[in-house]
């Protein structure tokens, strides 16, 4: 929907077929990012389960990967990580 320049070009009703994550990258207010130390990760998936923004996905080997376009830096994954394999690092 971001391609619309004027209200006249918008549909009358706010209905769309593309997913909102395709349109909106929602991580702009992040002040810190999770950095995963894979050598300490046990692939328990707890970070993946707890992420409130579905911003962690699992790669083919079962390791977590942070989707930085959507991660808001809340730190819940680092807090919940049992082997303390996630560090929250301040954004530049």
């Amino acid at each position: 929907m971001t391609s619309y320049e004027a209200q006249e070009d918008l549909p009358e009703v706010c209905i769309a077929t593309e997913s909102s994550e395709d349109v909106y990258k929602t991580a702009s207010w992040r002040t810190q990012r999770p950095v995963i130390r894979l050598e300490a990760c046990t692939k328990c998936n707890v970070c993946w389960k707890f992420c409130p923004d579905v911003a962690i996905e699992l790669n083919a080997d079962g390791y977590p990967v942070v989707r930085l376009d959507y991660c808001k830096g809340c730190g819940i994954c680092a807090e919940e990580c049992k082997p303390r394999a996630i560090d929250m690092v301040k954004e530049g």
Partner: protein
């Protein structure tokens, strides 16, 4: 069609049945309950082939209607008072996704103290939810207006939800002769709902979901524009209704004996009938008083109100609600509409009839007296029990 003697609540139910609603969801609350009880009867007997979805709260009832409307169904619900307040959050969702839901409301006071009686505070408190609001004076008007509301709400230029309110007990439980249109008449007036911009099973889409600061404002503007188109569509719908049934109810602000009036009282709902009789009584005594019925509160009939301000010097607004401001809600709306006029009338606000207190002819006469005498107080509660000074002769 012979007249049927029915309550305001049954008038609502008959209208929904004549509209061939497809989904009904509601949660009972006095004094609305017999609306949805009657509809449950119609569904159970097979007279109305609709889905009747039972829920655990008014919040869920509105959500069911929104979901059903999002899939293109014609929907109806009803509520009152605290139940309507519980719906509040979802009323915004209904208008925001342009779901043309029609809802009957039996106006009831808001607790505390707990009261089941007439008071407009429940629907006035929903004035900012993007719903069209009609206030009815009689059971005939309830039925006719509810049918018209479907046509208006679903109109391509509108697509907004509408509520038809009726005063608790004065209408909801009082029977009156009502000319119920035939199904053929209703079908001729109201074609099946052809929904656009809806969700369709098997096709991924999102409706009303997250949007950024880049586009939110534009969608609010579209709702605002739709509201500005309502008066024109409403007039056309009423004209069409009259063509088929022979009845209209005079637009959003019908007036009574207002041509040469010194003072006009603006009323809503059943107090209008009482005020009309007072107008006749005072006119018989040579006093030039008149009446204007604010039949549509959302969108506010700006044009008609400004026209009234142009022709009358003294205007009173009777609020049958109190919603926390320094003045009544209808008064502040009417005053706001009239403020840009070059010559503003004297405006006075009367708050009366809260929690089911009868608005009697002497009370209405007091309002006209205050207007004609130019009372100093801008807002006055009429009919309040107050200590009176008693003078003992001798």
């Amino acid at each position: 069609m012979p007249l049927q003697v029915i309550s305001g609540n049954y008038a609502q139910a008959y209208a929904a049945k004549l509209a061939r609603v497809q989904v009904i969801s509601a949660y009972p609350i006095t004094p609305q309950t017999t609306i949805v009880e009657k509809l449950a009867d119609f569904v159970a007997s097979g007279e109305l082939p609709a889905e009747y979805i039972k829920v655990e709260s008014e919040h869920s009832a509105m959500q069911v209607c929104i979901s059903a409307a999002s899939l293109g169904a014609r929907t109806y619900t009803a509520s009152s008072s605290q139940g309507l307040l519980l719906m509040h959050e979802l009323l915004h969702w209904a208008s925001g996704i342009r779901a043309p839901i029609v809802m009957g409301v039996a106006n009831r006071a808001i607790a505390p103290p707990l009261s089941i009686w007439t008071d407009h505070s429940d629907t006035i408190a929903q004035r900012d939810t993007g719903w069209i609001q009609y206030y009815a004076e009689s059971n005939q008007e309830v039925l006719d207006t509810a049918l018209m509301a479907f046509r208006l709400a679903e109109h391509d230029d509108v697509r907004l939800p509408a509520m038809i309110t009726e005063d608790a007990f004065y209408l909801s439980h009082t029977v009156e002769p009502v000319d119920v249109p035939s199904q053929e008449q209703a079908d001729a007036f109201l074609p099946p709902y052809k929904a656009r911009d809806i969700l369709r099973p098997g096709e991924a889409a999102r409706l009303g979901s997250y949007i950024g600061p880049d586009l939110y404002m534009e969608f609010r503007y579209k709702v605002a524009r739709a509201m500005t188109r309502v008066p024109g569509v409403m007039a056309a719908v009423e004209e069409e209704y009259e063509r088929i049934t022979g009845r209209n109810h005079g637009g959003p602000l019908p007036t009574y004996r207002a041509d040469d009036a010194d003072a006009v009282l603006i009323t809503m709902g059943t107090a209008t009938t009482t005020a009309r009789s007072v107008v006749d009584a005072l006119r018989a005594r040579g006093e030039k008083v008149a009446l204007a019925k604010l039949r549509v509160f959302r969108p506010l009939p700006m044009h008609e109100l400004r026209e009234l301000a142009r022709t009358v010097d003294r205007i009173g607004v009777l609020d049958r609600s109190y919603t926390g401001g320094l003045v009544g809600a209808a008064y502040s709306e009417v005053a706001g509409a009239m403020f840009p006029a070059r010559e503003r009338p004297l405006l006075r606000n009367f708050i009366a009839g809260l929690g089911g207190r009868d608005i009697t002819p002497p009370m209405v006469e007091t309002m006209y007296r205050r207007l004609l005498d130019g009372s100093d107080s801008e807002v006055e509660w009429i009919g309040l029990k107050e200590r009176k000074e008693v003078t003992v002769d001798g």
